[in-house]
């Protein structure tokens, strides 16, 4: 017969020593109040905005995407990061990339006013305010090795390589591997692993 745990028919040895137990009936509120009271002065608030985080993503994309050496003039040639459409970063992108490098390359932020300027960049961030359709930006880059990063629905399905999406207040991104391949860019597996992979929209709306 199997031995059952709850068979507590055995009686306790009388007078068996018993460890002391802490009781905290009153103390718990003292502790709770102490935590509250320890809130000092200095009330202010400003968390990380969406675009500060997106700026940091762009820096990471620069590190995790590989351009053919022909895309640069030399080993120290900086990575040109263009922003197309009204700049939503409010200076935080410049501040973030300042003094940082990718290997030996510095990052140069440029504000682009026309899609044609995109061809001279390595990364182009197309802000939500940009009205140029993806197709036109692609034809403006004319097959140059430009990583297009967008933030509007279907940006990647329409030919952009990377598109920011938000899920439950989080910044995430889609990658269209075919679009990256067409731009002659190598995307690290680490990036692909984290991305939501999408493919070309066969029937563009």
């Amino acid at each position: 017969m199997a031995v059952l745990r709850p068979a507590s028919a055995r009686l306790r040895r009388p007078g068996a020593p018993r460890p002391q137990s802490f009781r905290l009936r009153g103390l718990r509120w003292v502790v709770a109040c102490a935590v509250v009271a320890s809130a000092g002065a200095g009330w202010a608030a400003h968390g990380h905005g969406e675009y500060e985080v997106k700026a940091a993503f762009l820096l990471n994309f620069a590190r995790l995407v590989e351009w053919p050496s022909s895309a640069f003039r030399g080993r120290d040639d900086p990575i040109a990061l263009g922003v197309l459409g009204r700049d939503p970063f409010g200076g935080s992108l410049e501040k973030l990339v300042k003094g940082r490098s990718v290997g030996r390359r510095l990052i140069e932020v440029k504000q682009l006013s026309r899609p044609e300027e995109a061809a001279r960049c390595h990364i182009v961030f197309v802000s939500a305010a940009a009205r140029t359709p993806v197709r036109e930006i692609l034809s403006a880059t004319g097959g140059a090795n430009v990583l297009l990063v967008g933030e509007k629905p279907d940006f990647a399905q329409r030919g952009g390589a990377i598109n920011f999406i938000s899920e439950d207040h989080r910044v995430r991104f889609e990658i269209n591997p075919d679009a990256a391949r067409r731009a002659g860019l190598g995307i690290s597996s680490r990036l692909l692993r984290l991305a939501k992979l999408v493919s070309d929209d066969r029937d563009p709306r």
């Binding site: 068979a7 507590s8 055995r10 306790r12 718990r28 680490r190």
Partner: protein, 668 residues
């Protein structure tokens, strides 16, 4: 036999040495020096994984980055689940540091956080898409019916420690939140299937479609057939398990500010086992649920959610059958009072309609039918101070239930982030485990070590809530870009835990003239203290390799009241392992191959007569084409079989065998 032992020993030695050196390497890595004052520049030092850092809703019922959680939180995402090779939710919980997950047989588990484990462990709250899967029969979870297609799981959030303020009673030692993907994220076809030695056959078919650009729907069917564990001899045990389930989910963005979700599942299964008397035990669980949720955004800083669900659970065991209907209605509203003060408040009502049919004289619930109501309300304040580097959270839940009337469960938490890469948090919280039918309504006749002596357990009406006061302290950091770690510590004080008391002198047991029964009743005469450390760390040595490890110290000190006659109370100290250690390696290889290995060490459970064991799992996967994955998974590779938990009240425990299965997954 001898060379095999040697090999096993050698493997064990390698595993230990490598894991030890890994831990040392992580601990000895130099901390990063220049902490910049400018936080926006600091973001640039974060790895992309850190930037993506999953936000969690469990801690404060709204999305929040993990680094900002003032609690011991672990999140398993879809990728973690896919690469673990686990095929069910309870098995996947093995990955979570700070939990104790033990198989009892092929379809039964003992799962808890921070102490007090058993098949009927009652201090953990489990939710699937916001639906509580708690059974009021024993305040625990029937794990064999908590399932969804593994591919549909967006993430599993595990909060260890009391979660009573937001989640309510039963969240004494932790909350497990299983969250499935939105229908929008599961578009197209998915077909997966496979089989092997223990997992004899399984398959999932899912299709997601678009009703209109704002409404997405998915439906799935899932079947599995799990074979037997091993018995004490080399023979197979008789504990096979199979289940079929199907379900749907509709997510509809009615307007940019209104999201409607409807979802439901139906399942039917068969779970086998062996009763302690040696007889076969067959349980035919089936059930279903329907849930509707409406999330409305009032403004950028104000949002409310309203949710209703109905759940039916039917179980037909050899010893009894149970039909349970649950209806639940919840509302919560979150808004910014000022730019440094958020308030979340909510209210809910739940009704359980439980209907038991007693089948034997040895186990009975009286009354057989019982309806219970729970009404609750909560509020939680979140203050952001010192330019957001300090966060204070204060709140409480108030609950009215039919057993103990009024309960309150307050907590106070603080989180300090000296810079982007570190956070320190502390919490003081109280939670209660309200009584269940197993505390008040049960009658149970059990054999003892002495074949002529029996025990009768009788529940006690007026059973009190079990309560805990927990102190927690944690630290998270990313000292260098490729290394992050998380340490959580706790010290908890439990009062009024369930004890088994002698209710009177032994009485003759009439069917057998020379036998006696000792009448026992349930009471609240045990106090306890628990303490522990939960350490986890992740290291990316290269872009294609991820190593992660964890260590869990879980100590329980039980102290019965002076007038308690419960002599087995102390056994609970050893129902959870003192030490657990895990090491996982995930490797992306050329030719679209993935090679993943896991090592687990769990120390002994002396009260359960279970020795310490090691477990090694491995997975090799190949993606020959973009939409196709072929994988082979080996589980418990280096041990023929091991036991993880002792026999329960009713069923015997069996041994986890070595097993292998193959799987094909196709997405289109």
């Amino acid at each position: 036999m001898a060379p095999r032992c040697q090999r096993a020993r050698a493997i064990r030695k390698i595993a230990w040495t490598s894991s030890l050196s890994f831990t040392l390497a992580v601990l000895l890595l130099p901390p990063r020096g220049d902490a910049r004052a400018d936080t926006s520049a600091d973001l640039g030092d974060l790895s992309i994984e850190a930037l993506m850092q999953i936000e969690v809703t469990s801690v404060s019922k709204h999305a929040q980055p993990l680094a900002e959680a003032a609690a011991a939180v672990t999140v398993l995402n879809g990728e973690d689940l896919r690469r673990s090779g686990f095929t069910s939710i309870p098995e996947a919980l093995r990955l979570v540091p700070g939990l104790s997950v033990a198989s009892i047989d092929a379809n039964k588990w003992a799962i808890t956080a921070r102490g007090f484990n058993s098949q009927f462990a009652n201090k953990l709250l489990v939710l699937i898409d916001g639906r509580s899967v708690y059974t009021p029969l024993f305040s625990g979870v029937w794990w064999d019916v908590q399932d969804v297609p593994m591919e549909d799981i967006e993430r599993i959030e595990v909060v260890r420690g009391p979660g009573g303020t937001l989640w309510g009673a039963n969240a004494v030692n932790g909350v497990i939140n299983i969250i499935t993907k939105s229908a929008k994220d599961t578009q197209g076809w998915l077909a997966s299937g496979g089989g092997g030695s223990l997992e004899q056959g399984f398959g999932t078919l899912r299709y997601g479609g678009e009703l209109n650009p704002d409404a997405h729907l998915r439906g799935y069917l899932k079947y599995f057939n799990r074979g037997d564990f091993k018995g004490d001899s080399t023979a197979n045990a008789n504990d096979k398990w199979e289940a079929t389930r199907g379900g749907f989910r509709l997510d509809w963005d009615l307007t940019p500010d209104d999201l409607l979700t409807f979802q439901g599942d139906y399942y039917d299964g068969e779970s086998h086992g062996t009763l302690v008397t040696g007889a076969d035990d067959q349980d035919d669980p089936s059930g279903g649920n329907l849930l509707a949720r409406w999330t409305h955004t009032l403004s950028e800083t104000s949002e409310f959610t309203s949710q209703f669900y109905y759940d039916r659970t039917e179980r037909d065991l050899t010893l009894l059958s149970q039909n349970l209907d649950t209806v639940d209605l919840e509302f919560q509203h979150r808004f910014a009072v000022s730019d440094w003060h958020d308030l979340i408040w909510g209210a809910g009502y739940r009704r359980y309609m439980d209907d038991v049919s007693n089948k034997t004289l040895g186990l009975a619930f009286t009354p057989t039918d019982r309806n219970d109501n729970v009404a609750s309300a909560f509020f939680q304040n979140e203050f952001s101070l010192l330019e957001d580097s300090l966060k204070l959270i204060i709140g409480s839940k108030f609950e009215y239930n039919d057993y103990t009337d009024f309960e309150f469960q307050p907590n106070a938490r603080a989180l300090w982030r000296p810079d982007e890469k570190q956070s320190v948090w502390a919490a003081v919280s109280r939670a209660v485990r309200t009584p269940s039918r197993a505390d008040e309504d049960v009658f149970f006749l059990a054999p003892t070590d002495d074949p002529l002596t029996f025990n009768t357990f009788t529940g006690q009406s007026g059973f009190d809530s079990e309560e805990v006061l927990s102190l927690e302290l944690g630290y998270r950091a990313q000292p260098v870009e490729r290394v992050s770690f998380d340490i959580a510590t706790y010290y908890s004080f439990y009062n009024d835990l369930r004890s088994t008391e002698i209710a009177g002198p032994p009485i003759p047991f009439f069917p057998c003239p020379i036998c006696t029964t000792i009448p026992l009743t349930l009471d609240n005469k045990i106090d306890a203290e628990t303490y522990g450390v939960e350490l986890s760390t992740t290291w990316h040595p290269t872009d294609f390799w991820e190593l992660s490890g964890s260590y869990t110290l879980m100590m329980v000190d039980v102290d019965p009241d002076n007038d308690s006659t419960d002599t087995t109370a102390k056994d609970q100290e050893d129902d959870t392992p003192d030490h657990q250690f895990q090491l996982h390696s995930r490797l992306n290889l050329p030719y679209d191959l993935e090679f993943d290995t896991s090592f687990y060490y769990v120390s002994k459970l002396s009260s359960q007569n279970v020795g310490s064991y090691e477990r090694v799992d491995a997975r090799l996967a190949w993606h020959p084409r973009e939409h196709l994955e072929l994988s082979v998974v080996g589980q418990n590779l280096f041990e023929g079989k091991h036991r993880e938990f002792g026999d329960g009240f009713f069923t015997v425990s069996n041994r986890v065998p070595r097993s292998v299965y193959g799987k094909v997954t196709w997405r289109y």
